[in-house]
Symmetry: C2
Subunit: 250 residues, 2 copies
DNA sequence: ATCTATTTGTACGTATGTATT
DNA sequence: AAATACATACGTACAAATAGA
C-alpha cells in the first residue's frame, strides 16, 4: 500500500506554488492585483505568519511586489533582468567559473548579437554608445581609474544586449558582462600593462558602432569577433580571478 | 543635504542580505551550519516572524535548507542546477522567447560543447548515452509517445551538458533543453510528419557518440552542427509555441 | 496640513510537529 | 519509550506606511 502522498513541502512553499499556479491559470499580467493578506488567510485557512512567509518566497523570486497602505497589497511583478542575473549568479557562486569560461561563450555569442543589431539601432541608441566610449578615452591614471574604465567598457556590451531582439541572447550577454564587472583583478604590479592592446579594444568598439550604423552585419560580426579575441587575450594577461559574490538583492 | 540613507528594504530582506554577507565573509561552504532561529532572534533583536521570513527568502533562492529536530536548523546549501533553471525560467515567462531564439543559441553552443567533450567521457558515460538512444528507437505510435521521445532526445543533450567542463556552457545547454521540454507543440494533424527528418536526428546522435568515443573533436563539432540544423528545421515545421510555465519549485 | 481608513509590517506568547538520542 | 532540541504553525496586539477626505 503506497504512502498517503507525502506532502514534503512546507505550508508557505505550498501556498506560494498555489498562488503561482493561479497566476498562470488566470493569465495575470504584471501589475495585476493579488488577494490581500487577510483574504489569503481566509482562503487558505492558514495563519498570518504562514501566508506572509509565502509572500516572501514569491517576492524573493521577483514575481510579486507588495505595497502598504490603502490600495496596497500584493501585485504580480515582472522579474527584472537584474533580479534574474543576481539569482543566476548565486548558482555560479558555488561553481568555479573562470574568465576563460566566460570568454569561450562571449566569442561565440557577441558577434552573433552584433550581426543581428546592424541597422536596427536608432540614432539615439548609437549616440548613447558613442557617449559611453568617451568614458574610457584617456589612458587610466591609476588602478582605480583603470578598473572604472574596464567596467565602463563592459557597460558598452550591456547596452548592446539591451537591444537584442533575442531575449535569451540579450540576457546572457548582459549576465556575462555583469559577471566580468564583479571581477577582482589581481595583477602583477611590476609587469608593465599592455596599453596598446587596451586601446585596440576601444577602436574596435568605435568601428563596431560604425558598422552598426551602416547596417553592415558582416562587418559588425567580424569586428566583434576581433574585439572579443583581443579582450580575451587582454584578460588572460591579467591573472584574473572571479570574485565570490553571493548576492541576489534588489 | 542628502537623505539620511533610505532603508528601503524590509527587515526580513535586510536580515537575509546580512546573512548572505556573513556567509561570504566567513567563507562558509554548503553543509555548514547557520545560527538557529533562537540565536538569530537574539543577534538581530527581532521577532521570530521576521527571522523566519528572512530564512524563507534564502530558502526560496536555494541558498539555505533547514531541518527540524535536534541537530537541525538552517544550513548553507549549494544552489542546485534545477533551482537555477526554474528561477531563470521565471524571468523568461514574461518575455516572449521563441523556439527560434533558442535554436539560434543552440546552433552556436552545442557544437562547441561537443568538441570539448570529445575524448573526455568515460565508457560508462558513453554507454549511458547509448542506452538513452534506445528510448526513441522505434517510430512513435501516437502523439503522446512522440512527445515522450522528443523529451528523451532532449535528455540526451542534458546528459552531455552535465559533463561539460565549462559550467556556464553546461548550465545553458541544460537550461535550453529544459525550456524545449516544457514546450507545448501544436501541430496540424492533417499535415503528415516528416519522420525521415526525425530519424536523421537519431542517427546524428549515434554518430556523435562515436566521434566522442574516438576523441575526434572536429567530427563531434560538425556532427552536432548538422544535428542542430536538422533539429531546428524539424521544430520550425511544428508550429511550436512556448508553454507558459511560471514555476520555480523544487 | 491633519486626520482617518486601509493594508501591510513587526512582535510575542503558546502550542504543535518532527527528528535525534 | 521518553526526553530533548529544534523548526513549524497559530492568534492577537500593535506599529508603520500610504491614499484620500
Amino acid at each position: 500500500m503506497p504512502k498517503p502522498e507525502p506532502e514534503r513541502l512546507s505550508r508557505p512553499a505550498r501556498v506560494a506554488e498555489a498562488i503561482k499556479s493561479w497566476v498562470v491559470a488566470a493569465n495575470l499580467a504584471p501589475g495585476d492585483r493579488l488577494p490581500g493578506e487577510a483574504d489569503l488567510i481566509a482562503r487558505f485557512g492558514m495563519s498570518k505568519g504562514t501566508i506572509r512567509e509565502a509572500m516572501r518566497i514569491l517576492e524573493a523570486q521577483g514575481l510579486v511586489k507588495t505595497r502598504t497602505g490603502p490600495g496596497g497589497g500584493p501585485f504580480v511583478h515582472e522579474v527584472s533582468a537584474a533580479r534574474a542575473r543576481a539569482l543566476l549568479g548565486n548558482y555560479f557562486y558555488f561553481k568555479d567559473m573562470t574568465v576563460a569560461d566566460i570568454y569561450q561563450l562571449r566569442i561565440l555569442l557577441e558577434p552573433e548579437m552584433a550581426a543581428g543589431l546592424a541597422g536596427n539601432l536608432s540614432e539615439a541608441d548609437l549616440a548613447a554608445l558613442e557617449a559611453n566610449l568617451s568614458r574610457y578615452e584617456a589612458p587610466p591614471a591609476n588602478a582605480e581609474e583603470e578598473r572604472a574604465q574596464h567596467v565602463a567598457s563592459l557597460d558598452f556590451h550591456a547596452m548592446l544586449a539591451g537591444h537584442a531582439d533575442n531575449p535569451l541572447l540579450g540576457f546572457l550577454i548582459g549576465f556575462m558582462a555583469q559577471m566580468l564587472s564583479d571581477l577582482t583583478v589581481y595583477r602583477r604590479l611590476y609587469e608593465p600593462r599592455n596599453y596598446a592592446l587596451w586601446r585596440t579594444g576601444r577602436e574596435h568598439q568605435a568601428a563596431l558602432i560604425d558598422a552598426l550604423r551602416r547596417g553592415d552585419a558582416g562587418a559588425a560580426r567580424s569586428v566583434m569577433t576581433a574585439h572579443m579575441e583581443g579582450a580575451r587575450d587582454f584578460m588572460v594577461r591579467q591573472e584574473a580571478e572571479m570574485e565570490q559574490r553571493f548576492l541576489a538583492g534588489r
